[in-house]
């Protein structure tokens, strides 16, 4: 039973994380977040510096 509770918590956390990312994608200024929060390339660091 506890394992079901644990995966429920993980599932909710993942949904929350995705919802937050989507929210950030639409609310963050375009100039600051052209990658929609993706950290897959070197531009992430540049953006951090600009912020």
């Amino acid at each position: 039973m506890w394992q079901y509770i644990a995966i429920c918590i993980i599932g909710i956390a993942v949904i929350g994380y995705i919802a937050y990312k989507i929210y950030r994608m639409f609310t963050a200024p375009k100039s600051k977040h052209p990658c929609c929060g993706c950290s897959g390339c070197a531009s992430k660091k540049e953006l951090k510096m600009k912020e």
């Binding site: 394992q3 079901y4 644990a6 995966i7 993980i10 897959g40 390339c41 531009s43």
Partner: protein, 829 residues
């Protein structure tokens, strides 16, 4: 805070006076020096000028001039006090009145911050110098245009704080390219305290051209004579101290890749900032009688115009007006009395052109080169023994019209061979480690959904992708070597003809090859291409360059189905990407961007042996990005895919399989036969469960579209999830292809090879693997790439266009390959 921001009655203490030349000197002579108190007596009715009291004298300054004086005020003091008050949770009252001493202390502290701008030609080592000085890890390459935006770094030396800005490389300060305008704007608007002009010691004449323009701008400058080791190695003699005295700017030899001379360079910056440098002085380049007369005439008119900020050098404005600089023309047009200025300019331009029989801009350029030539004749002695340099010898082969291509292909092949085979060893170690962790969790945890999530979802999904880290790092090592050594520029050179056939310039090849690492910075690097048409085409075809995120998919499928010809297949995939880019660029040029382009010069920098440190920095940065992705998007995607594949838990078919298994267990059969039957039923149950899971339903919905390409529903789902990031294709395959793996084989490649559908046929064949790899190569680049295209093109239209064309193209190419392959297999098989 600037002096102009103080209100009537406010008091401030001077931190520093910005600006340049005579204006700055006069302001300082008036008593506006660091540490002195200034009081605002009153603003004039129209808020300009402002009446100040400094050192007991009353002076009035224009608001624009006061804006060039940095002060610390009571408000600044209050802010500084609030920070420690917040830290200690004490309430700091709003009315803290600082004593004069306190304000002076803050002013003196703030005065020890020096704003420095790095200016220089492309590929002269500015970014290396910036990295070494500031401890940053900005990307460095041995080709022009690495810096496409200004980058800022802060560090301390000898009690001073340096705020350095690495500006894009420019050959001059004309108004022809966005970089030139950007640098000029930065120097005029930000007014750095000291400019470091980085010049390449192996190419003095061309680099000093920019220096002459900085002299015209009247900026306080220190020259970094970079790559000094190369000058010495060639046996050339350069009396840089004499040249420094001649041009009134200290020259410090540096080698930015080793750090030689950088400490001394910044010590000299401090001296210049503190006005203690014995060399610094403002000189006027003598442009010859005709031009000087023109400058003098225009300058007189400009001096009479009260609307021109005093901080702008009138001589510089005059020169730029005579050169016909569009940017300065637009600025002058905004001023009252612009007509008179233009009339005087036109009159003098006509006179100069008549006298010199050449246009004014050319006359100035020639005069500058004349000045440089004269200065170098006195100070520079080239080694008379004309040895063929190593660069010339290497170029003889690598840029040869016949040998160039085979060498390029050989280099690429070595790169892929190393990526695949050298990477194979650490890959196996990581694979074993993932397996050990998986088995540990499997053996020590009670049965249940959390255990399944950990083993199949997280360890299977993330572990399936993390094993490819060594391959990616090796690929990056080669790309960094190509960039830093100067070979990338040669690759662009030999590709120039092909690029022209594509409707692009050779210069576009650099962003395209950068795309092998990551498409996003490659798209950003296309900013350096002057022509909009070429820039747009380069951006649109860049997603066809196979980025390192696609490498895990290739390594997985090639390792499973083509272990004997791995490098050849890998090379063929990359070449396919390039060929498709050629075809698409041609089509885009024909139908979308068919205007003629402006010509440009492509430079070939000398070869330099990249330092181990620089390559390690590139690899470390990439490893960090990859691991960050593992903990982010890939972990989240793996968990979601597991959830969608795990639920719903019960189905009618599942119950039926359970009943059948129970019946078999109760039957009296041979034990081996019983075990085999139960195993087969378990396999069919697992397949049925996956097919009826949420992800199975999604997969089966989209599968009809991809079925003609040979893909089953699991591959279809992995392509769908791979839109977030290409590595997710592997993690999805890793999570989904667990159903019929036997206990001994944990490697994903083995599971793929053994996977069978309900009919018992193999799901993956070599042909399907090729079709899938081509689809992954071409279809939807990741979200980050689309965002980069939208940002750089300035329109969502182009982002949507790329999504549509890449998906359609991927489908067509995979369809042709799969159906043709099937036809031939049917014919000969």
């Amino acid at each position: 805070m600037r002096l102009s921001e103080l209100r009537t009655g406010d008091k401030g203490v001077i931190v520093k006076v910005m600006g340049r030349g005579a204006f700055r000197k006069r302001i300082i002579e008036m008593g506006f020096i660091r540490g002195k108190e200034v009081i605002v007596i009153q603003n004039a009715p129209l808020k300009d000028p402002i009446h100040y009291r400094v050192m007991g004298y009353d002076v009035s300054l224009r608001r624009s001039d006061a804006a060039l004086i940095e002060v610390v005020s009571a408000a600044d003091f209050e802010k500084e006090q609030m920070i420690p008050a917040q830290d200690t949770q004490k309430s700091a009252g709003p009315s803290i009145l600082p004593s004069d001493n306190e304000l002076q202390t803050i002013a003196l502290q703030k005065g020890k911050t020096i704003n420095v701008a790095l200016v220089g030609n492309p590929n002269c080592g500015k970014t290396s110098l910036f990295n070494f000085a500031s401890g940053a890890h900005e990307h460095v390459g041995n080709y022009s245009g690495v810096t496409v935006d200004a980058k800022e770094g802060i560090f301390q030396q000898n009690g001073y704080t340096f705020r350095i800005v690495d500006l894009p490389g420019t050959y001059s300060l004309s108004a022809y390219t966005p970089e030139e305008l950007y640098v000029r704007k930065h120097l005029n608007e930000e007014q750095p305290d000291v400019v470091i002009n980085v010049i390449d010691a192996s190419n003095l004449e061309r680099n000093l051209y920019l220096t002459t323009q900085l002299i015209d701008m009247d900026v306080r400058m220190v020259i970094a004579l970079n790559m000094y080791d190369e000058l010495e190695r060639h046996g050339n003699k350069f009396d840089h101290e004499s040249l420094a005295r001649m041009i009134g700017a200290p020259i410090i030899p540096t080698v930015s890749k080793t750090g030689f001379g950088i400490e001394e360079l910044f010590n000299r910056v401090i001296k210049v900032y503190e006005e203690e440098d014995p060399v610094i002085r403002h000189i006027h380049i003598n442009y010859g009688e005709s031009l000087e007369k023109g400058i003098s005439n225009v300058r007189k008119i400009l001096k009479n115009n009260v609307d021109i900020p005093r901080s702008l050098s009138k001589r510089y404005l005059s020169i730029k007006l005579l050169e016909g600089d569009r940017d300065i023309d637009s600025f002058i047009k905004t001023l009252p009395g612009a007509e008179t200025i233009f009339q005087e300019r036109d009159r003098n331009t006509a006179q100069i052109e008549e006298l010199l029989q050449e246009d004014c801009e050319t006359a100035f350029t020639n005069a500058r080169y004349g000045f440089i030539s004269g200065a170098l004749r006195e100070t520079y002695e080239q080694n008379t023994i004309k040895e063929a340099t190593s660069t010339q010898i290497i170029d003889l082969f690598v840029t040869h019209k016949v040998l160039g291509f085979p060498i390029f292909i050989l280099f690429m092949w070595i790169m892929f061979e190393a990526t695949f085979y050298l990477g194979g060893y650490p890959m196996e170690w990581i694979e074993s480690l993932v397996e050990v962790i998986g088995n540990f969790v499997r053996g020590h945890m009670a049965e249940g959904p959390l255990k399944d999530l950990l083993v199949d979802g997280i360890i299977g999904g993330v572990g399936g992708v993390i094993v490819f880290l060594p391959n990616i790092l090796i690929l990056y090592m080669f790309i960094s070597f190509m960039e830093d050594s100067g070979y990338m520029a040669r690759a662009a050179f030999i590709m120039d003809k092909i690029m022209h056939k594509m409707g692009l310039h050779g210069k576009s090849f650099i962003p395209l090859v950068m795309g092998f690492g990551c498409n996003v910075p490659a798209i950003m690097a296309s900013r350096t291409i002057e022509s909009r048409n070429s820039r747009m085409i380069t951006m649109l075809v860049n997603p066809l360059m196979s980025c390192s995120a696609r490498l895990p998919v290739y390594v997985l499928l090639i390792g499973a189905f083509f272990p004997e010809n791995a490098s050849f297949i890998l090379l063929a995939l990359y070449v396919s990407g390039i060929l498709l880019a050629v075809i698409m660029a041609r089509l885009f040029k024909r139908f979308l961007f068919n205007e003629e382009d402006v010509p440009f010069v492509m430079e070939l920098p000398p070869y330099r042996m990249p330092t181990g440190k620089s390559i390690m920095i590139h690899m470390w940065e990439k490893a960090k990005q990859y691991l960050h992705k593992m903990g982010g998007i890939i972990l989240v995607a793996s968990i979601i895919i597991w959830f969608l594949g795990y639920f719903p838990r019960h189905s009618e078919n599942g119950d039926q399989f359970d009943r059948q298994i129970a019946e078999i267990e109760n039957m009296e059969l041979d034990s081996q036969e019983k075990a085999d039957t139960i195993e087969e039923l378990e396999r069919l149950k697992a397949v049925d469960h996956q097919q009826n899971s949420y992800i199975g339903r999604i997969g089966q919905t989209i599968q009809p579209v991809l079925a003609p390409l040979g893909f089953d529903w699991k591959m279809s789902v992995s392509l769908l999830t791979g839109m977030a990031a290409k590595e997710v294709v592997v993690s999805t395959l890793s999570v989904l292809y667990t159903g019929n793996a036997d206990d001994d084989s944990q490697a994903l490649s083995e599971r793929l090879k053994q996977d069978r559908n309900t009919e018992g046929d193999l799901v993956f064949t070599p042909l399907i693997a090729i079709s899938l790899m081509l689809f992954v190569l071409i279809y939807f680049p990741c979200i980050a790439t689309i965002s980069a295209i939208v940002n750089e093109s300035g329109s969502w239209k182009w982002g949507i266009f790329v999504i549509v064309y890449t998906c359609v193209l991927a489908w067509i190419v995979s369809f042709i390959v799969y159906q043709t392959g099937n036809f031939f297999i049917g014919l000969f098989g």
